[in-house]
């Protein structure tokens, strides 16, 4: 099943890429190939990859049928029920990115870390709050003052 999804996505990607390549205005001056030739080759390469995958799917289905007939277990991986957790972390990280510049590095990072550690390192409140705040403050000053990396100050005055 998973392989079929990859196959579908690959074909869609190839289609979109061919379409986007056609949108590039051509100005072929001196360069015999222009900016579109290499991308077209890549599109063909992607179709070739899709064909290889199709061959593998056919071979694997034949194999799976054989093991099923012999009473063997299916090798198809089970769809995990915990994927929503990853979605939640990704959404929380997206919120972190949204508040990163307006609130500044120290505040946004401390808030982001406190919530994540509160969930994944439960019941150790003191340790979690201390690490979150200290990491945010120390890394801010280390990177901005010592290493010359710019991090957003946000609403804090320093």
């Amino acid at each position: 099943m998973a392989d079929r999804i990859i196959l579908a996505c690959t074909l869609v990607l190839a289609g979109v890429y061919f379409w986007a390549t056609a949108q590039i205005p051509s100005l072929e001056l001196g360069d015999p190939l222009g900016p579109k030739a290499f991308p077209r080759m890549l599109g063909v390469g992607l179709l070739l990859g899709a064909a290889m995958l199709l061959a593998e799917i056919i071979r694997n289905t034949a194999k799976a049928k054989l093991t099923a007939e012999q009473g063997g277990e299916s090798t198809e991986p089970k769809w995990d029920r915990h994927h929503w957790l990853v979605v939640a972390i990704a959404v929380w990280t997206a919120i972190y990115i949204v508040i990163f510049e307006p609130l500044g590095f120290i505040l946004s990072t401390a808030i982001y870390l406190m919530a994540l550690t509160a969930y994944f390192n439960r019941n150790r409140w003191l340790m979690n709050v201390l690490t979150s705040v200290l990491f945010a403050v120390i890394s801010y000053f280390m990177f901005t003052k010592l290493l010359g990396v710019n991090l957003p100050p946000g609403i804090l005055p320093f």
């Binding site: 100005l27 190939l33 990859g49 990853v86 990280t93 550690t117 890394s139």
Partner: protein
Amino acid sequence: METFTHILNGFVVCMQPINLWYTFLGVLMGTIIGVLPGIGPSAGIALLIPITYGMNPTSALIMLCGIYYGAKYGGSTTAILIRTPGEAASVMTSIDGYEMARKGRAGAALAVSAIGSFIAGTIGVIGLTLFAVPLASMALKFGPAEYFTLMLFAMTAVSTLTGESPAKGVIATIFGLIIATIGIDLQSGQARYTMGIPEFQDGVGFVVVVVGLFAMAEVFRGLEDIYRGTSAEAMKITGKLWLTKEEWKRSIGPIWRGGIIGFVIGVLPGAGGTIASIMSYTTEKRLSKHPEEFGHGAIEGVAGPESANNSDTAGALVPLLTLGVPGGGATAVMLGAFIMYGVQPGPLLFQNRPDLVWGLINSMYVGNIMLVILNLPLIGLFVRLLYIPVGILYPLIVAISVIGAYAINGSTVDLWLILGFGVVGYIFGKLDIPVAPLVLSLVLGGIMEQSFRQAMTISGGDLKIFYNSGITVSLLVMSVISIALPFVMPMLRKLGSKGDES
């Protein structure tokens, strides 16, 4: 003779106090990165590039290289004490290493990996020293057509050799090349696939892609493991941190053989540390007088793979330094680093910057000595890292990745990219799509397109230029073989077994 002076001069460069300091910093960070789950050498190198930007390139590269081979030392510690490789190539060590630790011989397992890594790592650097100049002078004759076919071979080998499915490897490779075409086309000045986002005009930086695919995706996987309650506890170091005479006798052969296997595999594109350590493991099992002990704490099963895994790094630097074409994911990140510091690796580098090349190569002799000290008498310090609760460690890795990505341009677009590629890397992991080919083709994509177009300009648009010389023809043939082999092999095997039956 001239080369000999360059090599000696390289020792002068690498012994300068500033470079000794950066070697030390690199191998120290490498060991920490190797011990900790979550950040591997690729992400570690990528995160440091924006911070070391503007440093003198020799020192910066010495440090990044130190992270690369240092991480391999640290990876074995985690493999032995928690049975999860801290770094992918240590996977074989986690079998017998962990069994040794359970039997109270953790000290011996750690000692043999550190000593084996040191001996084999040094064998690897000697190999690199010997092979670099002949290969580089051969590569001087390479034109754009030769380079194009060489990169094609590196990519096909990597895409079919990493992971279970060659088709998925090919798709990942092309996906990386497609990302590489985003941005302004260098020859026509035409913007391609920028979707109206001004930040995309310079292209999608490989740093954000690597940090997303390697660090962020690993955080997602790690947090998922905590939620499921499958995270493992670290064992205590038991037994003396040294080998008995008997253990030493059993280990020395595997160390030498592993060192040579690792170097050879490392030079070839595609295979890399994981395959080197698997090959060493199976070799030792076949040669052993008591193969039944393998899997139940045989010291050869730690000594061989761990040595192979470490000389592999020096081997992998051979094509990167002499040809300028990396053969795997981590060396591709190194190439990206070289280019960001304005240094183009390849045959000309040996002529124009012998101080940099030999300073870098010779720093690896020094770094290996530092690593054996860090990983033997001082191993207790690093083991403490394993007691950091993972529920704190993984969130901190996100914050560190955010700092590194924001440091590049000071733009939140790069933060969205690391998050996006983190999700992509997580999904790829679940679907068994390898990410190393993607990183390789992303870094090489721009150069590959340029050399293709230069070759076509030279030939006036005639494809003949790609099969005119012996070098291009043999590289093309090897590319076709590496794509076709996974499909032809099962058929050949079937034919063979049918022949046996009749």
